[in-house]
């Protein structure tokens, strides 16, 4: 099948092969052209940035300033990105009173704004399920309801990250881009995540979101109070999740979803503090967790008042 090659000299076939190869390389470069625009948007510093937990305090400051500059360049917004670490001895938990929740989705809306979510997709870390009375089966619930609330015969169950004490998402991450902090909050290093979405498959609560595109937010809508591990504007192609608003809660404030709730259905606090509201709820109400049988041990509790 193969012809005997002439031993020396430039045969016609070799010449044709050369032309073919050249054309091939040119076509390959042309096909890859959109990538050059993408590469232009990447900085060497961003590419080589170390994992959050390997950064020295100085390096971290450099990173924070760079990210602020990037936000200015790309969004035209002046923001302050801080690094808030867990307060020693604090362990956060959240409880939600299902008897009070009316399904207004104000919490989801507050989350959307507070956490600098993509405006186009109206992203939020909270999904509110309209549930059928008489059933805790999520199969009978729907997040797509579109009518006046509360509807008769229904109750409402907002679901967000449960900040599990045995988080399946952390277990599966191949690059340790997500972990559980001392105060119980599961966080992501958005600059380390490779975007494989294994954590999204592993989470039993649909708590994780992927940035399918670069988030778009008008400069005037950007929340400028930001933290590295929470609400700073996420890059395209990485995972994100609810952080119990750590940029607020680690500074002594309450989560945005709680402040937005018109019925007071939400209770948040430090379980290690015997005088906290959350401690009182856990001690006095018959609380339960979602999908307890999976052994994820959530820090998010639900209860009915009556």
């Amino acid at each position: 099948m193969t012809e005997q090659q002439p031993e020396s000299g430039l045969s016609r076939r070799t010449l044709l092969k050369g032309i073919g190869a050249t054309l091939g390389v040119a076509a390959f470069a042309k096909a890859l052209a959109p990538l050059t625009e993408w590469v232009d948007g990447l900085s060497v510093d961003a590419f080589l940035q170390k994992h959050y937990r390997e950064l020295t305090p100085d390096e971290l400051q450099t990173v924070l300033r760079r990210l602020e500059q990037e936000t200015r360049d790309q969004y035209g917004a002046d923001v302050h990105i801080d690094d808030l670490t867990p307060n020693p001895g604090v362990k956060f938990a959240y409880a939600l009173n299902l008897s009070l929740c009316i399904g207004c989705r104000k919490c989801a809306e507050a989350c959307h704004k507070e956490n600098n979510h993509d405006r186009d997709t109206h992203q939020s870390y909270i999904r509110v399920l309209e549930m059928e009375q008489g059933s805790l089966d999520l199969e009978k619930g729907t997040a797509g309801y579109n009518h006046a609330v509360p509807a008769p015969g229904k109750y409402y169950m907002p679901v967000q990250c449960q900040q599990c004490n045995n988080p399946p998402c952390v277990k599966v991450c191949p690059v340790e881009a997500t972990w559980k902090e001392q105060d119980g909050i599961v966080v992501i290093d958005y600059n380390w995540c490779i975007g494989c979405r294994y954590c999204e498959a592993a989470c039993p609560y649909h708590a994780r979101r992927f940035n399918w595109k670069k988030p778009s937010i008008p400069a005037e809508d950007v929340n400028p109070v930001q933290a590295y591990l929470s609400n700073r504007i996420r890059p395209q192609g990485v995972m994100e999740k609810c952080t119990f608003c750590l940029h607020r809660t680690r500074a002594g404030k309450l989560p945005a979803c709680l402040e937005a709730c018109p019925t007071g259905a939400r209770v948040f606090g430090d379980v290690a503090d015997p005088d906290s509201d959350i401690r009182w709820v856990l001690e006095n109400k018959r609380v339960f967790v979602l999908k307890e049988e999976l052994g994820t041990q959530p820090s998010f509790f639900y209860f009915f008042d009556v």
């Binding site: 099948m1 193969t2 090659q5 076939r13 092969k17 076509a27 390959f28 042309k30 096909a31 890859l32 052209a33 959109p34 990538l35 625009e37 993408w38 994992h51 999904r127 399920l129 089966d137 999520l138 199969e139 619930g141 729907t142 997040a143 797509g144 679901v159 399946p168 277990k171 599966v172 991450c173 191949p174 690059v175 881009a177 380390w192 995540c193 490779i194 975007g195 494989c196 979405r197 294994y198 999204e200 498959a201 592993a202 989470c203 039993p204 609560y205 649909h206 979101r209 992927f210 940035n211 399918w212 595109k213 670069k214 890059p235 395209q236 192609g237 990485v238 999908k291 999976l294 052994g295």
Partner: protein, 414 residues
């Protein structure tokens, strides 16, 4: 791989020559060959272009969503891990049962394994939101969450399998090129290791999915055995068709022996695969309850959504047809019947592993919402590109192998 006790300057000369002659001869051929390779290259380039768009604009160009967060790419990845593992079905008869006729052809299975793994790696890469951060998963440079994350196990077993097969195939071809008889100690231990390793790659890949408690559809102990069985369907089916093509296009002597052996293997594996499907279907539907909702959606549709129903029934039809043909005595005599059965079951398993396994794992979602998924044009383009690249690579690899076996590719000319 440096495999020689005393440094011999001879290899420094002859090994580069082997590589160079391989490259030259693998790009030689008739017009049909050039047309074939040009067509494949063109398709591959369409894929490259679609991928660059995806990287630039984001994975919003796919039809995946926060509800169905893995789709066509991971489906193909899973299928191809099986194909790679299935290559071992030539190695087992050849070395474990000492089937002499298989010995010369076993290289086809090894080359298939190499190509399939390369394609797997490509499919994983196009699924990454941040391909620029690929280095984060390289042990030693990045942060490798081993042994906790099953994905890190997969990285290890897949790259190990790639290296093993590169060594075995490379060593055997190089020795033939030199005109030497291969030294058993340099490949037999690796061959036996590769048998165990082949099982491991598909087992670990099944563990990726079945270890997720929040996805009841995948959370089944039968997943790894099912993966292996279907791997032993697609591997032999692909190799049979490849051998038949080689028989037509090259002077390679293949004969009925190896094809009959592979057909006998398929007769069993196709039926076991169907049996496992039945076993899962029974467990799901007889039990009932909400755990069955993904299976209901897959086979019959749920709450007015039927996206996957045509896929799974096509798959079942193809696999049942193939099983019936394989059991007919005529399949060992009629080549076209054999090819039809091989193609049918290959496509059948491809659907079963992708649209029939990865996608329904996400529908309904963990909060029981139904968001459907149908691959976007960009996804199909990228998939076609990787397949074209893989088939092109396999063509070149087979060309090198047949040239070596023909004696055209030798250190000393005949």
């Amino acid at each position: 791989m440096s495999t020689y006790s005393e440094p011999s300057p001879k290899h420094l000369v002859s090994y580069p020559r082997f590589i160079w002659r391989s490259l030259v001869l693998s790009t030689e051929g008739n017009l049909a060959f050039y047309a074939w390779m040009t067509a494949l290259t063109a398709i591959a380039l369409v894929g490259v272009n679609a991928w660059s768009h995806q990287v630039l604009e984001g994975m919003v160009v796919t039809d995946m969503s926060d509800h169905v967060s893995w789709g066509l790419y991971i489906a193909n990845f899973t299928f191809l891990v099986g194909l790679a593992a299935g290559g071992v079905m030539m190695v087992i008869p050849a070395y474990l049962y000492d089937d002499k006729k298989m010995h010369d052809l076993v290289i086809v299975g090894e080359l298939l394994a190499i190509v399939a793994i390369v394609m797997c790696l490509l499919f994983v890469n196009v699924d990454l939101g941040r391909p620029d951060r690929f280095w984060h998963i390289i042990p030693g440079i990045g942060r490798f969450n081993w042994p906790i994350s099953m994905l890190t196990w997969d990285v290890l077993v897949l790259s190990g399998y790639l290296l093993l097969n590169l060594h075995i195939a490379g060593y055997l071809l190089y020795q033939r090129f030199l005109g030497h008889k291969p030294d058993k100690k340099w490949y037999i231990p690796f061959v036996f290791l590769s048998i165990v390793w082949a099982i491991s790659i598909h087992t670990v890949t099944a563990f990726l999915y079945c270890g997720l408690g929040g996805r009841p559809f995948w959370n089944s102990a039968l997943l790894a055995p099912r993966f292996l069985t279907s791997a032993f369907v697609t591997g032999p089916a692909f190799i049979i068709v490849s051998l038949l093509i080689l028989q037509r296009l090259t002077r390679l002597e293949i004969g009925r022996g190896p094809i009959d052996t592979l057909t006998s293997i398929l007769r069993i594996t196709v039926v076991i695969n169907l049996f496992m499907v039945l076993s899962e279907v029974f467990t799901e539907f007889y039990t009932g309850g909400t755990h069955v909702s993904a299976a209901t959606y897959l086979y019959f549709g749920l709450h007015g959504h039927h996206g996957l129903v045509p896929w799974i029934w096509t798959s079942l039809l193809l696999n049942v047809t193939a099983a019936v043909i394989f059991l007919l005595p005529a399949v060992k005599k009629n080549t076209w019947l054999l090819v039809a059965a091989c193609v049918a079951t290959f496509v059948g398993v491809w659907i079963e592993k992708g649209m029939g396994l990865i996608v329904p794992g996400f529908i309904p979602s963990t909060l029981h919402e139904i968001v459907e998924y149908a691959p976007s044009t960009e996804e199909w383009k990228i998939m076609a590109g990787i397949w074209a690249f893989g088939i092109g690579l396999f063509t070149l690899a087979l060309k090198i192998a047949t040239n070596v076996f023909d004696g055209d590719l030798r250190l000393t000319r005949k």
